[in-house]
């Protein structure tokens, strides 16, 4: 069968062979990206652990208020954004396009709120004299270096995710994307949430004064 004979409902390659995973290529690619990115964050967290265990003068900088309180609020916001993302995908799968868009935009707004809270936390630390290579409390300068590296990479993922969600919302509204695209984007968004599930206890709670 030539490519011009292929039914229009099928995507290129789809008619040739069914995937052994039972999912579309875009979703498999997202899973592969997630696994690679999980290894990256895993390596970063192990690096942080290595430097922490190897440093005799590690300090614990975080007070309950404002740092931990802020981090708890950030955690709740991000977890809730995963729920709204699921609601968006469910609405899209049910063919309720307007409701899906509403949940998708709400997810992006929650992601933005997380980023704003995160930046507020960073600027508070900057005011206290913290920098990636400076420790105002004395002791190892690696405290700031590891904190800003890990949370910075995660923040980059959140900001990228918010931009991606908004772009997807625009194209979904125009009818150029479907529920499957939203589900794939949702995978990424849940992964960002999943990484935070390790960053919050290991980087924040383990550094409480």
């Amino acid at each position: 069968m030539s490519s011009t004979d292929m039914p229009l409902a099928l995507e290129p390659g789809e008619a040739l062979e069914e995937s052994p995973f039972g999912i579309r290529s875009r979703k498999l690619v997202m899973w592969l990206f997630i696994i690679a990115d999980a290894a990256t964050f895993g390596a970063l967290l192990f690096g942080y652990g290595y430097l922490r265990v190897g440093s005799a003068d590690w300090v614990r900088p975080f007070a309950f208020s404002p740092t931990i309180v802020n981090a708890i609020v950030m955690t709740v916001v991000l977890l809730t954004s995963s729920l709204t993302m699921l609601a968006s995908v469910a609405a899209a799968q049910a063919g309720r396009r307007a409701a899906s868009l509403k949940w998708l935009v709400l997810t992006a707004l929650l992601g933005t709120a997380f980023a704003v809270l995160h930046l507020r936390e960073w600027f508070n630390l900057f005011r206290e004299g913290w920098r990636p290579g400076t420790n105002p409390m004395g002791g190892s300068v690696l405290v700031g270096g590891t904190f800003f590296s890990i949370t910075g990479l995660h923040l980059l993922h959140v900001v990228t995710g918010v931009v991606a969600l908004l772009v997807i919302a625009i194209f979904y509204r125009r009818g150029r994307l479907d529920a499957g695209h939203l589900e794939t984007a949702g995978l990424y968004w849940h992964f960002v949430d999943l990484v935070w599930m390790f960053v919050f206890p290991l980087v924040y709670l383990m550094n409480v004064r």
Partner: protein, 102 residues
């Protein structure tokens, strides 16, 4: 456009809400344990265990891995676990480094 779900048997909204509440409960437990004056080793073990539980719930329910074909799970997760286990070789050198400091 195809609006059909790509995962077979995806859970209902109620399941998502229950998992979300469970995740919030785990976060509350983590914070409570942090201020329970545990030794650093015990606190780390508890926080890691709870984080793994959270991650498992998120991957299985929010990311639908529980509802995909098993081959997807077995193709993705064991390799990642292997890589993360191999990284544990770092600790011996980290402890050695610590003993080098005065």
């Amino acid at each position: 456009m195809n609006d059909t779900p790509e995962s077979a048997g995806v859970p209902r909204t109620r399941v998502y809400v229950v998992v979300w509440l469970g995740l919030l409960l785990i976060v509350a437990t983590e914070v409570t344990l942090t201020y329970a004056h545990l030794s650093p080793g015990k606190l780390l073990a508890a926080l890691l265990g709870l984080a793994l539980l959270e991650a498992g719930l998120a991957v299985m329910y929010f990311m639908h891995l529980k509802y995909e074909r098993r081959i997807l799970f077995w193709s993705l997760i064991p390799g990642l676990i292997f890589v993360l286990l191999m990284l544990n070789q770092l600790w011996f050198d980290a402890i050695r480094l610590r003993t080098l400091h005065p």
